[in-house]
């Protein structure tokens, strides 16, 4: 199984409508290959919240309308912020039936009042246990950050280092939401508190954007990247239902399964795109993925080991923090970056000698966890 082509739009506050974004990403993926849209056998569309944000559902048919006359199977996948990874997971399973599948992730969020957007996004939490109590996602991750700090002595400055590193990487990615924004430690430290202890710069932004992949059963060119593992695990939706908030069990299980599928271990990963919806999430991801021991992620970021020139560069495109978080597109965007890196096409932010890359895409607070591993082919 191979990623044959990748495409994406800029992420950010964009003028384009949802169908325009989806169309641009599809076109961009086709232009990245020598394939025609007629070569596509089926499409999986990843989207989280076009219902509440756009009053637009039935996205599979909407995508069909962008492809007049094609009339192929198209299905929408929604697993909150993990929709992109889940759509790829589903596409790979379907490669037994289809030869060539397109995966599109798309989200349009910026044209909605921010308070309404906060509510819409909280739909990824349990209605009764979380939403009715006003537990928004920043609040959930604030509680998680607090637990991590209490247990391991992680500090606010450790979180700031994650934010700073991702913004620095984002400055090298012309598609990134914050491509032009220069950020320093003072800005991060002085940014307003959103949900204590998390500040504005600990949170990923609300972005519009789309990304697309073409996956093939067989290798088509030397730019193809091989998918060597694909795992998806689910868990409780609410933090109330968990016993430990400093680690996501679903991520650990999916990771173990992925490593065993790929017959590698954590030390073999050269680059990783992890789901940094909040800075704390990146630290927990590093621990759950086995890049370091539980509680040790803080040392890694203090030593700069996850920077572009570190031994395990993380979120080389800026991550959700700086590249942006158009929810349904984010998981697909992660694959876009890993493929770009493994093809050696990442320009200024290219990590040398990358052979194996990993994507870590989670929904909510790890109620869905999707891990993919890729190898240069």
């Amino acid at each position: 199984m191979y990623i044959t082509a990748i495409g994406r739009t800029k992420f950010g506050i964009l003028n384009e409508t949802l169908p325009e974004l989806a169309y641009k990403a599809m076109l961009s993926a086709l232009e990245d290959s020598n394939l025609s849209i007629r070569d596509i056998d089926a499409i999986y569309v990843a989207n989280f919240c076009s219902g509440p944000f756009q009053n637009q559902l039935h996205l599979n048919s909407l995508i069909s309308s962008l492809l007049p006359g094609l009339m192929i199977p198209i299905i929408r996948i929604e697993t909150a912020c993990a929709s992109g990874g889940s759509a790829l997971y589903q596409a790979l399973i379907s490669l037994t039936k289809f030869k060539t599948i397109m995966v599109i992730g798309v989200e349009k969020m910026s044209n909605v009042d921010p308070t309404k957007a906060t509510m819409n996004i909280s739909a990824a939490g349990d209605k009764m246990l979380d939403q009715n109590e006003g537990l928004t996602f920043p609040a959930s991750y604030a509680l998680i950050a607090q637990q991590h700090m209490l247990k391991y002595g992680t500090t606010l400055d450790d979180l700031s280092l994650v934010s700073l590193k991702n913004h620095e990487n984002g400055n090298l990615n012309e598609f990134a939401h914050f491509y032009h924004k220069k950020v320093d430690m003072e800005m991060i430290r002085n940014s307003p508190v959103i949900c204590s202890p998390l500040r504005l710069f600990d949170c990923s932004p609300i972005s519009d954007g789309a990304a697309a992949l073409i996956v093939s059963r067989e290798r088509r060119s030397d730019r193809d990247v091989k998918i060597i593992a694909s795992a998806l695990v689910t868990d409780y939706i609410s933090p109330a239902q968990r016993r430990d908030l400093t680690s996501f069990k679903a991520v650990k299980i999916a990771t173990n399964e992925a490593y065993s599928q790929a017959k590698i271990n954590a030390q073999d990963i050269n680059i990783a795109e992890v789901h940094d919806c909040f800075t704390i999430t990146e630290l927990i991801a590093m621990e759950d993925l086995g890049f370091c021991k539980p509680g040790e992620s803080k040392n890694y970021v203090r030593e700069g080991r996850t920077k572009l020139d570190g031994d395990i560069p993380i979120n080389t495109d800026g991550g959700l923090k700086a590249d942006g978080h158009p929810i349904g597109a984010s998981g697909v965007g992660q694959v876009y970056e890993v493929v770009t890196q493994l093809r050696n096409e990442a320009g200024e932010r290219q990590v040398k000698n990358s052979e194996i890359g990993l994507t870590h895409n989670i929904g909510g607070i790890g109620g869905t966890a999707v891990i993919h591993i890729f190898r240069r082919s």
Binding site: S122, G134, A142, Q146, Q147, S196, A240, L245
Partner: protein
């Protein structure tokens, strides 16, 4: 609510009665002590949680189960809480008054699944209220369903019967002395946690709250007629009304599928404060001979996109009611813009009060 399967050692946060693994019946867990394990102060408002900052607590019961709770009060990690707020869904509501508004409120409550205790001064008024609610319910349901809902309204003539309610909504005549006496009694009769709401449209919440021993549970909850159709509820916070009371009543209004707006105590609240001078100005336009009633109303309907013109609305409200609201606004503000147009008093003297006297600005048959 937590359900457990002892055999499989599994926990559900949902009301499931059978374990899906072993098919044994589940048991309900009844925790009593909760420890605060996590706290975050939330600064991001959302439509259902618009008052910020608030706190989200992560609390743990004695069995090791966690819960998320919203609070307006800060806690320390490790604090023990003996009782957590139960679900918003309110079971028992007292309604005082069987006029148009009280009857409408009782209907909306019972349709939202509440148990209603409807208090009136006279047996025949209760009968009339039941008849009215029954007729209204039959528009959307069959006789059986209607009877089932009506069964959830308990009529009473005794104020003492409101002693087990979660919230009381008072909707009696707009007379400050009557309301004060009522709240004084309610304060004694109702449990400490019962919220006391008044459906006043013009009286001061602070003045009503003054007579109670615990003014932080007193609040204004101003419904609009016809209550089953009108979505707005003005929620008026007195000086002493607690943040918890405000949030509770806001959520409660939403549970009734109404749209709450929150405000400080002020003469006329929001709607009447804006509406009354507008209606008054329309009467001036008429009395100055500028246009006919019909043209004034047409202009307002089509130019302002209002469903009804101001003079037709005045006929519906009743000129007598309008006059008394204007007078109380004027008394409260001393502002000449709240002096009623002389034509209003003249019409009242001529017996042209509006629809209820068959003539106002228009004739009704």
């Amino acid at each position: 609510m937590i359900q457990i399967c002892k055999k499989c050692n599994l926990t559900w946060y949902y009301p499931v009665d059978t374990c899906i693994y072993c098919r044994a019946k589940t048991e309900t867990l009844n925790p009593t002590v909760y420890t605060v394990r996590g706290i975050t102060e939330v600064f991001t408002p959302s439509p259902d949680h618009s008052i910020v900052p608030y706190y989200n607590l992560l609390i743990e019961d004695e069995f090791g189960n966690f819960y998320i709770r919203k609070a307006f009060q800060n806690y320390e990690l490790g604090d023990k809480i003996s009782e957590i707020r139960k679900e918003i869904r309110i079971k028992k509501v007292g309604v005082i008054g069987t006029g148009v508004t009280g009857t409408g409120i009782a209907q909306v409550l019972v349709q939202a699944g509440c148990e209603v205790i409807l208090k009136s001064r006279a047996e025949e008024k209760l009968d009339k209220a039941f008849e009215k609610i029954g007729t209204n319910l039959l528009k959307t349901m069959n006789v059986e369903e209607k009877d089932k809902l009506l069964f959830n309204i308990k009529p009473t003539l005794k104020l003492d019967d409101l002693n087990t309610t979660d919230i009381v909504i008072e909707a009696v005549i707009e007379d400050i002395e009557i309301k004060k006496r009522l709240f004084e009694e309610l304060d004694k009769i109702c449990p400490k946690k019962t919220i006391l709401a008044t459906n006043t449209s013009s009286l001061s919440i602070d003045e009503i709250a003054k007579v109670t021993s615990n003014p932080n549970r007193v609040i204004g909850m101003h419904f609009f007629n016809p209550v089953p159709k009108m979505h707005l509820v003005e929620i008026i916070a007195g000086e002493k009304t607690s943040q918890e009371t405000i949030e509770f009543v806001r959520d409660f209004a939403k549970h009734l599928l109404k749209v709450p707006v929150t405000m400080k105590d002020c003469p006329g609240f929001i709607v009447n404060r804006i509406l009354m001078p507008y209606l008054n100005e329309a009467v001036y336009v008429l009395s100055e001979g500028i246009a006919s009633p019909c043209d004034i109303d047409t202009a307002a309907r089509l130019g302002l996109n209002h469903p009804m013109g101001p003079l037709a609305l005045l006929d519906l409200i009743g000129l007598d009611v309008f006059l008394s609201i204007m007078n109380s606004l004027y008394r409260a503000t001393g502002n000449s813009k709240h002096l009623p147009c002389p034509l209003v008093e003249k019409m009242i003297q001529e017996g042209k009060i509006g629809r209820k006297s068959k003539e106002g600005f228009y004739k009704y048959s």
